[in-house]
């Protein structure tokens, strides 16, 4: 099974790295990181800027690209299912084969400018590690959401709409709801509730992760402060990494279960 999985992933990567969208995505990361690195000497500031862009664009591109890719390759998927391949293997092969090029784009796009300017500032290795990890996890999370959405929706337009809504919800609407909640119920103790709400948003989780490490929780809003109050820094980081892993595993497994039972 692992053997077949690797073969599917291999050809999947061959296909996607030749797509112009993946090239544009890489160039975007390159251009953005390059300009940030050349403007500033302060590593913390650079990381925060990179983080903000990462948390805006990686979810958007992963979920939209994933959704469109799956709908466009519907006939290919049906054909592959007629071959002697286990459905689980095909699904996971498609998933990792799609997420891998996106991750590589991010790593190369942001990594090359970093290597160019590597001597310019003192680097905090753990922070760098967390930035890379959250970029990878965000790709995995939003790709698995895309896979879940396309597996349960036959209608391309509806599926794409749901995907855009998910992205919009987690990047903007969610924060709005939290603010509204905190504002209206400020007389009540809301720390635990807002803590729980953070776990329900994968993008917030990544933000909290780096905020804790950078020790600037007070600058980055309410949830960051609450998080730091409840967990010690390293434990908080551990918890948010676990939560993000669950955020990609749960939709992935749910999608896989639907895929196995689905009529094509």
């Amino acid at each position: 099974m692992v053997n077949t999985l690797i073969k599917i992933i291999k050809y999947q990567i061959h296909d996607i790295i030749r797509s112009k969208w993946i090239l544009i995505y890489t160039i975007f990361f390159f251009a953005f990181s390059y300009s940030i690195f050349s403007f500033s000497d302060n590593f913390t500031k650079i990381v925060i800027s990179l983080l903000n862009v990462t948390l805006l664009f990686i979810p958007l591109v992963s979920i939209i690209f994933g959704t469109i890719y799956l709908y466009n390759n519907k006939e290919y998927i049906v054909f592959m299912l007629s071959q002697p391949i286990k459905r689980e293997t095909l699904y996971l092969g498609l998933y990792f084969g799609m997420a891998a090029p996106l991750i590589l784009s991010f790593l190369f796009g942001a990594g090359i400018p970093f290597l160019i300017f590597v001597n310019k500032f003192t680097i905090d290795n753990p922070i760098l590690f967390l930035l890379i990890t959250s970029g990878i996890l965000q790709t995995l999370i939003f790709s698995s959401l895309a896979f879940y959405i396309t597996t349960i929706n036959e209608n391309k337009l509806l599926g794409l709409g749901v995907s855009i809504f998910f992205w919009l919800f987690f990047t903007a609407i969610y924060d709005g709801i939290i603010l509204l909640l905190l504002n209206n119920f400020q007389d009540y103790p809301l720390e635990k509730i807002s803590l729980a709400l953070t776990f329900l948003n994968p993008i917030d989780l990544a933000r909290v992760l780096l905020i804790l490490k950078l020790d600037i929780s007070a600058l980055m809003g309410y949830t960051g402060a609450v998080f730091q109050k409840f967990f010690s820094n390293s434990f908080g980081i551990f918890i948010s990494l676990i939560a993000m892993t669950l955020w990609f595993l749960i939709p992935l497994i749910a999608g896989l279960k639907k895929f196995i039972k689905k009529d094509f």
């Binding site: 296909d15 030749r18 290919y76 049906v78 002697p84 039972k261």
Partner: protein
């Protein structure tokens, strides 16, 4: 070779197939005929395990289909519309399937040659014409020497020359003992090859006869009379 017993398939309230029982013998060429949306593709997809029956059983080579994928090794499938990842080149598609099926020997590449597909080997899928895609599709179905060939509308989109190449190939493989099933919504060029005719209408088999059992000289007349008389008349 393939035995279908009291098969039902419904999508919500719509019955796509109702009480289908069919025996497809080894070495036969079965022609599934029926108008659009009569259930031909649904039946094929059920045999391939792409969809699951609501009720009933299918046996391939004596093995009951239960979600296991191994039996697909002896099946070659040519779908109505096939598409592959658009940035891959033709050669890579062949290589991918060879790797996935763990099969590098005993390959039947005759169709690649007779269709002249070698000159398209370095082209990306997105640059192929509909007809070339269909040729690629057909070549893949025959490539692994499958015991059972399932061809869904195989001649749609093929030019007359390619059509006759495919026809010759079907004839040849059948002489080698292969079981072939093909579908069409119109009477196709392949009609004369068929040894068994199965006529589907609204998800039911209304006629299932061997070639020699059909007395009318013209199959077209039989089918037209069926389609005209289907409302209200009793059919055996």
């Amino acid at each position: 070779m393939i035995r279908i017993k009291n098969l039902y398939k419904s999508y919500g309230f719509v019955d796509a197939l109702q009480n289908i029982s069919l025996e497809i013998e080894k070495g036969s060429i079965t022609y599934l005929i029926g108008p659009n949306a009569s259930g031909k593709t649904t039946l094929i997809k059920l045999i391939l395990g792409l969809i699951k029956p609501t009720k009933g059983e299918i046996f391939v080579n004596g093995i009951k289909l239960n979600g296991d994928y191994k039996y697909k090794e002896i099946i070659g499938y040519m779908p109505q519309v096939a598409n592959f990842p658009e940035n891959l080149i033709v050669k890579e598609i062949f290589n991918m399937l060879k790797e996935l099926r763990n099969n590098n020997s005993d390959l039947d590449e005759e169709l690649i040659e007779s269709f002249g597909l070698e000159k398209e080997f370095d082209k990306q899928i997105k640059n192929l014409s509909g007809g070339t895609r269909q040729k690629l599709n057909a070549s893949i179905a025959f490539m692994f020497n499958p015991e059972i060939l399932i061809l869904d509308e195989p001649t749609a989109g093929l030019d007359p020359l390619s059509c006759s190449i495919l026809k010759e190939k079907i004839k040849k493989e059948n002489q080698n003992g292969k079981t072939i099933i093909f579908t069409s919504h119109i009477l196709s060029e392949l009609e004369e090859l068929a040894t068994t005719f199965v006529f589907l209408l609204d998800g039911k088999i209304v006629l299932s006869k061997k070639k020699e059992e059909i007395k009318e000289s013209n199959l077209e007349d039989v089918i037209i009379s069926f389609m005209k008389g289907i409302n209200g008349e009793h059919i055996n």
